[in-house]
Each structure stands twice: as structure tokens, then as C-alpha cells.
């Protein structure tokens, strides 16, 4: 009897796609000012001096640095961060910009870079009214729409400029939500942070456009340590987006950022991230270590903070965007899709700390693991004894796309009173071959079918993203999955 082979086209597509290139892996050829590798007090002082910082900030940095020396890198995450040689990293890299006349023109190379990333820096070219702060390596390159926002009293600029122009505001809030003593990477960031965004929404103002920061690592052998500080005063509202990419390199690069958010009475902040740092190649070589501390303080009564994240990049992800719900009736939300492929490792989740009465929090986490990756949800819901009548709902789903990947959940729940209600739901499932065949039969290839099914699975979270981001994020999920199903 003749043996007839089944069509093997599927495998071939997967082979090809696995070798598909990371779209943002290019390097911009631009003159860069780099501080030599290594870290000591002199380097901390030099960064501060380069930025012309006031004494109090240098002081903050030095305290952080000295504290960092006493700390060890955390090892509790379900990730394998190798011993990082902190003396082998450059802590400051700034693309050198030509200054022509009075107006600060953007270097054409830089402009081209951001165009290529789909982030045009000319305001008139943007399709939607979205203000952007573009950060390359250690410095902010350009912030758009500043003047228009200023008319409303909204401050949106790089944190370096904020230190100069609004020192009192920065001093009032910097390090108040994430103190430098918080953890190893937070201490390091506090010592050497170079740039990032600053946002202040005054009382009663609804920010009329989405604000966004686009982080780009370009220079080799450098780390990026940016710091974002967002303050929404009473009755203010802002939706803030963060995007990030990096070139493809065989070495690993460190990204240790801090995001601090303060939400006052009845104010609301929506913070959305599409994290697309270079994840390394299909054999796990290279990629960004994304070790980030993000936390918001809902200080005001009836305040609300919502985190939405789509995590597809980075070799290692270690981050837990959290909410401290201090004001009574404050609301914290965390919506997350974390997709890992090849040899990526992600340990991500959130902490909801209920301190105020009648506070509520919602956690929806969707993990997707493919290839040989490891994907962990780590969450804490803590309700203080005095925080009565609190509510939390947690839904934590994992989808496995391969037999060689792992999905893990590490939830911690502490409830300090008996008037609060905490719910936790969790599921783990494998991608269903019947679903894929159903799509195939309708003419949809296996790759596209997996993209559709995964996007469907993540829909609840994707729906929380602002429109401009949602489409991009959907494509990103599909692209990141290329070669994921064998």
C-alpha cells in the first residue's frame, strides 16, 4: 500500500516564521555621547552634573546609590536573571543633537528613526491628537504638543526639563510612591536615572489628548534607566501610553525603569503599555532584561488608577504595576496580557494594597506561553484591617501553546477584616486543535488561526487599550506568535 504524506506546509511556514526578524531591530547610526562603563559615586555625580541638577536631586541620587550598594538582586522571581556585571554597563548615552540657531531642530537621523518606528515627531503628521515624548537611550528627544497642553495647565515634558522648570512639583512627588529603598532595581534607577516623562494634570482638567512616551534603546552596551512621574490633581483625568523597542543585539541590555503615579481626589489615570523590547532570537540569545518598578498611589477619595499592559517583548520581564488604594472608595485595576515565546521569561502581575475603606480592585491577567518560554503571574491582594467593605476580583488565565512552555501562578491574598470580599478565578488551557482546524477549513492558515484565537482569548484586556494602541497591539500579538505552534 502506498504511503501518502500529509501536507507538511504547516511546518514549513513555522520554520520560516521562526526566523522572521524583529521588525524594530535596526540601529540608528548617530553620534552618541556615552559616559564610560562603570558605576561609582563619580558616575552618579557626573550624570547629575551633565543634567545640571540641583543639590537636592544629587543628594537623592547619592543616597540611593549608597543604599543600592547594601542590596542584593532579588532572586524570588520565576526568571533566570544572570549575574549582571554592573561595572560593564554604561549609565548614560545621549544622541548628540545638532543645535541650529535658536530653535532646537531635531537631528534628521533621529527623526528618521522615530518615523521608522511609526512615531512621527512633527505634530501635523500625526493622525490622531496624541502628544508624544520620545526618549532615545538616556535623553528625551522631543515632546510634541507642549504648548497646546500648557494652555490648559497640563505639564508634559521630560523629567530633566521638569526638574529645571518645575522643581517644587518634582521634589514634592519624586520617590514618594517608589522610594529608593523599595528594591534593588529601584535603588539603582534612583541613583542613575537619566530621563523619562513628567506629567502634571491640574485640578479639574481632563487632558484632551492621549499622552505617550516612546522609549527607544539605541546605543550598545548601555542600560536605560528612565523614570516617569505622573500626577493627577483633584478631579483630573489623563490617559497615558507607553511604547518601547530596541535593536537586535546578541548581548543582553538592561532596562530598569520606575513609574510613579499619584492620583488625588476623584481623579483618574489610565496607564497603558505595549511593551515590545527586543525579546532575543529564537535560541534565546540577546534581548532586553526588563526589570521595572511601577506603582501608583490612589491618595484621594474616589480616585481611580487603571493599568493595562500588553507584554510581548524582552528576554526577561520582571514587573508588577501596582495600586496602593489609600483614599476611601478608590479603585485599582490591572489588565494584562503577557505573551512569551522561544526562551523568553516573564514574571509579572500586580499588587493591590487596600488601605482605604470601600476600595475595590480588579485584576484580569491573561498569560500566553509558547516555545520554551516560562510565563508567571504573581499577584498580591492585601486588605488592611481598617479597610472595611473592600472588594477584589481576580481572574487569572493561562493559555499554553506548546508542550515545552510553562505557565505558573503565584497569588497571595491577605484579608484583614471580615467585611471585605475577595474572589480569585484561575484557568489553564491548551490551544485547541479543533479550533485551528475549523479556521483552516474556512481558509485561514494555522498561523493566522493562532493569531485570531489568541487575540480572542486576550480580547477582554485588549478592549481596555486606547484605539490607536489596540490595533497595533493585536498585530503585535500575532507577530510575536509566529512560529509558536508546531
Amino acid at each position: 500500500m502506498k504511503e501518502i504524506e500529509k501536507p507538511e506546509k504547516g511546518n514549513q511556514i513555522i520554520e520560516e516564521a521562526a526566523q522572521a526578524e524583529y521588525k524594530y531591530g535596526f540601529v540608528t547610526d548617530i553620534e552618541t555621547e556615552v559616559i564610560p562603563k562603570g558605576l561609582d559615586e563619580g558616575v552618579v555625580r557626573r550624570i547629575s552634573a551633565l543634567k545640571g541638577e540641583p543639590e537636592w536631586l544629587l543628594d537623592f541620587r547619592l543616597k540611593a546609590y549608597r543604599h543600592w550598594l547594601t542590596l542584593k538582586a532579588p532572586t524570588w522571581g520565576h526568571v533566570h536573571v544572570p549575574d549582571i556585571d554592573y561595572q560593564d554597563i554604561s549609565y548614560y548615552a545621549a544622541p548628540r543633537q545638532k543645535k541650529e540657531g535658536e530653535a532646537k531642530e531635531i537631528d534628521p537621523e533621529l527623526k528618521k528613526t522615530f518615523d521608522k518606528l511609526g512615531i512621527p515627531l512633527e505634530e501635523q503628521l500625526r493622525l490622531s491628537g496624541m502628544a508624544v515624548d520620545a526618549v532615545m537611550d538616556s535623553v528625551s528627544v522631543k515632546t510634541t504638543y507642549r504648548e497646546r497642553l500648557a494652555e490648559l495647565g497640563v505639564i508634559f515634558c521630560s523629567i530633566s526639563e521638569a526638574v529645571k522648570d518645575y522643581p517644587d512639583l518634582v521634589r514634592k512627588y519624586l520617590g514618594k510612591v517608589v522610594p529608593y529603598t523599595d528594591n534593588f532595581y529601584a535603588a539603582l534607577n534612583s541613583a542613575v536615572f537619566s530621563d523619562g516623562s513628567f506629567v502634571y494634570i491640574p485640578k479639574g482638567v481632563r487632558c484632551p489628548m492621549e499622552l505617550s512616551t516612546y522609549f527607544r534603546i539605541n546605543a550598545a552596551q548601555t542600560g536605560q534607566f528612565e523614570r516617569t512621574l505622573i500626577v493627577a490633581d483633584d478631579d483630573a483625568y489623563v490617559s497615558y501610553l507607553e511604547g518601547c523597542t530596541a535593536p537586535m543585539r546578541d548581548e543582553n541590555q538592561l532596562h530598569a525603569a520606575i513609574v510613579e503615579i499619584i492620583v488625588e481626589d476623584r481623579a483618574e489615570v489610565k496607564y497603558s503599555t505595549v511593551q515590545n523590547w527586543y525579546p532575543g532570537d529564537k535560541d534565546g540569545k540577546g534581548g532586553i532584561y526588563n526589570l521595572v518598578t511601577k506603582r501608583g498611589l490612589c491618595r484621594g477619595d474616589h480616585s481611580k488608577l487603571s493599568w493595562t499592559q500588553v507584554e510581548t517583548g524582552s528576554a526577561i520581564t520582571w514587573k508588577y504595576p501596582s495600586c496602593v488604594l489609600m483614599g476611601d472608595h478608590s479603585v485599582g485595576e490591572f489588565y494584562s496580557v503577557a505573551l512569551t515565546n522561544n526562551w523568553q521569561e516573564a514574571d509579572t502581575g500586580t499588587k493591590m494594597i487596600h488601605l482605604g475603606k470601600n476600595t475595590t480592585s480588579t485584576i484580569v491577567s491573561k498569560g500566553i506561553s509558547a516555545g520554551h518560554s516560562q510565563n508567571s503571574y504573581r499577584g498580591m491582594v492585601k486588605i488592611a484591617p481598617k479597610a472595611t467593605n473592600c472588594r477584589n476580583f481576580t481572574q487569572c488565565d493561562s493559555l499554553l501553546l506548546s508542550d515545552t512552555s510553562g505557565a505558573h501562578t503565584f497569588p497571595v491574598i491577605e484579608v484583614g477584616n471580615d467585611t471585605s470580599v475577595v474572589e480569585h478565578e484561575a484557568t489553564t488551557s491548551k490551544i485547541n486543535e479543533d479550533q485551528i482546524f475549523y479556521c483552516n477549513q474556512r481558509g485561514i492558515s494555522t498561523e493566522d488561526a493562532v493569531g485570531l484565537i489568541v487575540n480572542g482569548y486576550a480580547k477582554e484586556v485588549m478592549a481596555k487599550l486606547p484605539m490607536e494602541f489596540a490595533v497595533e497591539a493585536q498585530k503585535l500579538l500575532s507577530v510575536s506568535l509566529e512560529g509558536a505552534v508546531g
Partner: protein, 252 residues
């Protein structure tokens, strides 16, 4: 249109199809009947390229092409459609998105531009009226929370959208009440033309009252053991399958 020669197939080393021969011409409706476990659903799965089955012999020609050499999605593009016995749910994926992807993949296969959103929605409106599928269902996730009847109507709706050359209806009547059965059958009849063909797989005569077959085949133990005109279905309804089983088994 379809020429199946001595088709043999197995699942997990168990031989299910033991040499199927069948020729379908444009404009024809063929009914395949037979007792449980005779290989009816296996035949539809093998023709559409379900990877759970292994073809161990024989050939299938579809409009001049070697069907078995094509991937499942290319078979679909070439005009082969299966109305599933158990349509699967795909949570979070809207019917609109699903159908649009399917249709545009087919257009791409033939070097055509994707359909504009407006044209697509117009087409969708037009086609869903064929099976009285309301707008709400069309915008919900694929089969999610659909009743049995809605799922089957949704299958015929997809058939209408994709305009296949050969449709295989696998037990489309199972789980349908009489009203849903009428809607589904009238949908199929509306889509019937002299250029396309239909294979109806069913246990019962009931569906064949509405979708009139030109030929009726009886599948038993992985082979077509009897072929005749529509009168055979009536005879089976009357006498059951035992007499055929006895006839076949005595010959072996």
C-alpha cells in the same frame, strides 16, 4: 468535479476508510447514509484535510487538482466547504472578524484585493438573511453561546459567504428542530446551482425531504456498499440498515 478513487484512511492506526470510490459532478446532490461508525464523518474529515487522520491509499481529484496534496486552507480556497457536525466555539473572535479573515484569505489566494469594510458588511447582511441569522448573532463571537440550531444556521451562513464549489454537510440535521431544519435546508437549496455540488451526510431520511438528493449511497464498514437514486433513502427509512448489513456481511 470530485473523483475519489479507492480512498483509504486511518486514525491512530485504526483503518476506517477501506477503499471509497465516488464521483460527483457539478449540479449534483449526493446523500451518504449509513449506520453509526461506518466512516461517514471520517470521509468528510479526510477530504477537508483534518490532520487527525492519515490517508493510507487512493487518490482524490478535485477540479483537476490533487486534493490530498493541498493544505486544508488551500482545499477551502479551491472551493471545498464542510458544514461541521459540531461547530467549535472560538471565544472572543467575532463572526465579523472571522469571516472577513476567511474571505480575504480566499481573495488573496486568487490574487484579489481584500474587500472593503463597507462591501464586506453589505455582503454579510445579504448572506445572513438566507438563513435568517440576525445581526446580533453575526456580531457575536464564533459560535459562542449559540444554540444547536443557531450553530448549524451559522455554518450555512458561512457557506453562503464563501460560495464553495463543493459543500459537505456533515449531519447538519442532528440536533435541529423542524423549524430550524427547514431554514437550514432552504438556505442550502437557495445556494444550489448547476455549477456547485453538495454531499449530504445523514442518518435519516428527514433532511432529504427538504434537500432532494440525485444519488444516495450507503457507507458501511468503510466502503460504499450500495448506490441508487433517491428512492433508496425512503427504503432505508422504512427497512433500516440491517438488511444491507446482512447482505454485505454474508458476502465477506
Amino acid at each position: 468535479m470530485l473523483i475519489i478513487k479507492d480512498l483509504q484512511a486511518s486514525i491512530e492506526d485504526k483503518q476506517i476508510l477501506k477503499g471509497i470510490n465516488l464521483t460527483v459532478k457539478p449540479g449534483e446532490v449526493h446523500a451518504i447514509m449509513g449506520p453509526n461508525g461506518s466512516g461517514k464523518s471520517t470521509l468528510s474529515a479526510v477530504l477537508t484535510g483534518n490532520p487527525a487522520y492519515t490517508v493510507t491509499g487512493g487518490s482524490v481529484e478535485f477540479n483537476g487538482k490533487d486534493l490530498l496534496a493541498l493544505s486544508p486552507e488551500d482545499r477551502a480556497h479551491e472551493g471545498l466547504f464542510l458544514s461541521f457536525q459540531y461547530p467549535v466555539e472560538i471565544p472572543g473572535v467575532s463572526m465579523v472578524n472571522f469571516m472577513r479573515t476567511a474571505l480575504n484569505e480566499k481573495r488573496k489566494y486568487f490574487g484579489q484585493e481584500p474587500l472593503s469594510a463597507a462591501d464586506f458588511l453589505k455582503l454579510m447582511r445579504e448572506k445572513r438573511s438566507i438563513v435568517q441569522l440576525d445581526n446580533k448573532l453575526a456580531s457575536r463571537a464564533v459560535n459562542e453561546g449559540f444554540s444547536g440550531g443557531e450553530k448549524k444556521r451559522n455554518e450555512i451562513f458561512q457557506m453562503a459567504m464563501l460560495e464553495p464549489k463543493l459543500s459537505i454537510l456533515d449531519e447538519t440535521d442532528s440536533g435541529l428542530d423542524i423549524d430550524a431544519l427547514r431554514i437550514v435546508a432552504s438556505g442550502v437549496n437557495t445556494l444550489k446551482s448547476k455549477d456547485n455540488a453538495t454531499i449530504v451526510i445523514t442518518h435519516y431520511q428527514r433532511l432529504l425531504d427538504y434537500i432532494k438528493p440525485d444519488f444516495v449511497h450507503v457507507l458501511y464498514k468503510g466502503r460504499i456498499v450500495m448506490s441508487a437514486g433517491p428512492e433508496l433513502a425512503l427504503e432505508l427509512e422504512d427497512k433500516g440498515y440491517d438488511w444491507i448489513k446482512e447482505q454485505v456481511d454474508s458476502q465477506q
